[in-house]
Homo-oligomer: 151 residues x 2
DNA sequence: CAAACAATAGTCAAAGATGGTCAGAGAGGT
DNA sequence: ACCTCTCTGACCATCTTTGACTATTGTTTG
């Protein structure tokens, strides 16, 4: 626990223990711990990933920031990971619908949400050749699964 | 929230919270917040866009002004049609986000639904060249608008 | 009334302020 | 030695701020 990464990680997590989310300025933190700014990116990329249950947003330019939030890890994460593996990078319209129904049954999505997503994944919404369409649909579904984790 | 843009934005929106429309003098506001006049144009161009639901008029010359109004569209069906027209077949990620926020504000979508859709419309979810990406995003958003009508 | 002048607002490109990426160097463990 | 994790810095992307120049409208003057 002597490397800067761990120290900064501990510092941020200690704050997150009290506050639900924190907003930092990359430069400030870098100065406080006397390291280069990109070190902060390293900390965030290795310690505050979605897999570890964190959601990070940022803005560049004047008044920029990095915001970190702890997200709730559901038991259903396993299911989501499973689905992700099943889907891979190819997904038919019918299969997509089945997955969505499953997600609704597991109460990970509401019916309305499923309808919205389904409409976006139907072939009419993906104007490209069949093969690309299925790849695209799979890609979007993968995004959805990741997003559900932080809803 | 320390950059002038956000501060001026908050100031104007706070007034718009009570008044239905406001009329300002660019020079006056610039003086009050100690910035150059064109800063006010920046605030307006980035924070009071049509996507965000604002309508701005102005006049130059003696007695000139900038008038900002929140657009109220009572019938949500009309709003959806309007949006559809505004979007056409080209849509940036930022504009998409602004529209989604608007839909949430109008209670046509829930926050969760907006988050899901936003994640599907972000550039990482649309792996294609920028131009196609924007067309695709517009297409998906059009589908969404149609879907909302029958929810 | 037309021409000048005054009073506003708009545009745009450059500079400033942040954060992001990535490849390579460094450090620690096996 | 080799492998993995950490650290660094040069370069990139994005958002904000500024100011010189332009455009439009109102007012005064010849």
């Amino acid at each position: 626990m002597q490397n800067i990464t761990d120290i900064i990680e501990a510092y941020l997590k200690q704050i997150l223990h009290d506050e639900k989310k924190i907003e930092i300025k990359r430069q400030e933190i870098a100065e406080r711990f006397d390291c280069v700014p990109s070190q902060i990116n390293y900390v965030i990329n290795t310690r505050f990933t979605i897999e570890k249950g964190y959601f990070v947003e940022s803005k560049r330019g004047g008044g920029g920031y990095i915001r970190i939030q702890k997200i709730v890890i559901l038991d259903s994460h396993d299911l989501l990971d499973e689905m992700s593996r099943w889907i891979g990078n190819d997904l038919t319209e019918q299969a997509a619908e089945d997955y969505l129904i499953r997600l609704v049954n597991e109460q990970l999505l509401t019916r309305r949400e499923a309808i919205v997503v389904q409409s976006l994944l139907q072939k009419e919404s993906l104007p490209m050749v069949l093969e690309d369409q299925r790849r695209m649909r799979a890609h979007l579904m993968q995004t959805l699964l990741k997003t559900i984790k932080r809803l």
